[in-house]
């Protein structure tokens, strides 16, 4: 049996998976969650746990997630249609079985422990394939940019926010 690490090194499967995701996207029947335009239930559970790990050590709490996920979705909706499709493909990497297998996991990522998510993020952060490193960049940017766009996060980093201008 070929070890998944072998696939990582060849780079073929990873590239094929992501490259072929366009067609998978079109065949994937995914209805957005009633409160969202982009994310469905599984996306939300994945992005929820990823967000908590990415932002570990900040003031983020589980109860902050609904607002953060809404903000992440709003950021995605502000991207051009083709880039939105790439984000869909990114989600497929974590949702579909081949993608999970490449990342060493059988069970859904939405149910993963923080330790497992942290290990996976460290794996793709330094991965030999740029496509995985790009996935890391996209995840970190979507989550952290949405978090710091919200003024509630500023106190925790010592940012006073913009000055109030007098009329």
């Amino acid at each position: 049996m070929i070890h998944r690490r072998t696939f990582f090194k060849t780079g073929i499967i990873g590239a094929a998976l992501l490259g072929g995701a366009y067609s998978i996207t079109s065949s994937l029947k995914s209805t957005p969650h009633p409160d969202y335009k982009f994310f469905d239930k599984e996306d939300l559970s994945i992005m929820g746990v990823f967000s908590l790990v990415i932002l570990k050590g900040t003031s983020i709490k589980e109860e902050d997630l609904p607002k953060l996920l809404k903000d992440i979705e709003a950021a995605i909706m502000g991207l051009p249609p083709l880039v939105q499709l790439e984000v869909k493909e990114l989600m497929l990497l974590f949702r579909l079985r081949p993608g999970r297998w490449l990342l060493g996991r059988n069970a859904p990522w939405g149910e993963a422990s923080h330790e497992d998510v942290d290990a996976m993020l460290n794996d793709i952060k330094f991965h030999s394939l740029p496509i995985f490193r790009g996935a890391y960049a996209a995840l970190c940017e979507l989550v952290t940019a949405s978090y710091y766009a919200n003024s509630n996060s500023w106190k925790g980093i010592g940012y006073p926010g913009p000055l109030e201008l007098s009329e």
Binding site: I54, A75, L121, P130, G134, C140, A149, S153, L165
Partner: protein, 523 residues
Amino acid sequence: MSFIEPININSNQVIDGREIVNDLNLEFDVVVIGSGSGGAMAAKVLSDRGYKVFIAEEGPLKLTSEFKMRESKAYPELYQESAGRLTKDKGIKILQGRNVGGGTTINWTTSFKTPKRSLDWWIDRWKVSGCTTEEMLPHFAEVEKQMGISPWELPANENNEVLGRGLSKLGLSQGSISRNVVDCQNLGYCGMGCPVGAKQSTLVSLIPDAINNGATLGHHLRCEKIITKKGIAEAVVLRSMDKTCLRPSSVSIKIKAKKIILAAGAIGSPAILLRSKIDDPHKLVGKRTFVHPVCLSGAMMSEEVGAWQGAPQVIYSDHFLETRPHSGKIGFKLEAAPIHPVILASVIEMHGEKHRYVMENYPYFQVVIALLRDGFHPESIGGEVYLKDDGTPGLDYKITPYVWKGIRDAWLASAEIQFAAGAKKVWPIHREADFYNTWSEAKASINRLPLEILKAKIVSAHVMGGCAMSEDEKLGVVDSLGKHHHTDNLYVMDGSIFPTSVATNPMESILSFALKNAQALKI
């Protein structure tokens, strides 16, 4: 304080593309695509001369009163792709404006004349005429007058002072940056649209001037293509955009004009030529597109820096440009960069503990950036603009080993400067780098960092080239006055005409060449 908006959105000279519900056919003397430095200057000059001008802008019209110094608002509204535009391999993040005013609405006001070495190079190697320093000086002077470009008189903020101190300690040359501001309040939010109208972006200067001259401004209007007949450009087809400026509607606006001027930026203008299938016998369009690849070095200082406040860029060093001939190692310009939370979090690309460490120390964080001079060496050929499946443009830019070596040199130079300025720790912004405690530790480690995209953080705020000017049609898409070599009545007047990168922040160069070429245009 109150600012009188110079554009009246209720004027019948200001058209919101979203409100157009039926196809339109219009006729003007000149249609200008884009409202940034190049387009606004062309529109101003030609409307001054009495021509009937239409300015088409893909992005929204946002007024000074709408600028709230909030990243959450500014990036989606004022930047291409919400400030998240990436090169094809995702290796470089590109910051570009997309609004009435283009890059001038959101740049950091840094103003430099075109360096003599770049002008001489273009004349010598790229067969450009009429642009010696002596020939350009009157244009620079006129631009500086019109745009309020003048030396910055107030003290530098600490973010810039760190750079200046380090340069002084090491005996490296430095200079003060001129800025295009009038009555600047030193807020530090230039990148989100100046909320007091102090920055003399084209939004508050050249565009209102052109409208006062009788020009018409249309926003939420993307140029789909140029229509030509027997080698003559006759009209443009615009599409009205939705409120996000991301999706075109089926409504088209056809504008017939005697002259068509492309000024959609160095990704947008080549893309329009490609979409329009404009004659390109030497396959030059979109090639040799340059970005001044920028690498970053973060420093943790003992005292608070507060890099979000104060004029963003006021000190620079050209030491590593001036001491490096074009034939040698790639040169780079050193500047400080303003830091706001969203942009910092996006740039550091970290999760967990390291992310927490940087963000918790945000007030003490200082950043030096190096802008690499791409395009002057055979091993720095730039990137290529291409069309995606939906016709929107992308940029394929591969960083060559020659450029990577310069990036390593720039991390080394920046780190040494930051330690000399008193940094406690320095971190070249690279996923495999750490916060180093000493210059010797940093030097040894930087020399071992792998030179790979999506490990090293590389960004760009300056896209140039892709429609190079040259008197030789085998070298350039347009001539020295911006006229297309193979299509009559078609001109390019933006940063895409530069045969290489400018080797400095390009706004004043784009304005000055557009001024010169619009004045020379015969209708």
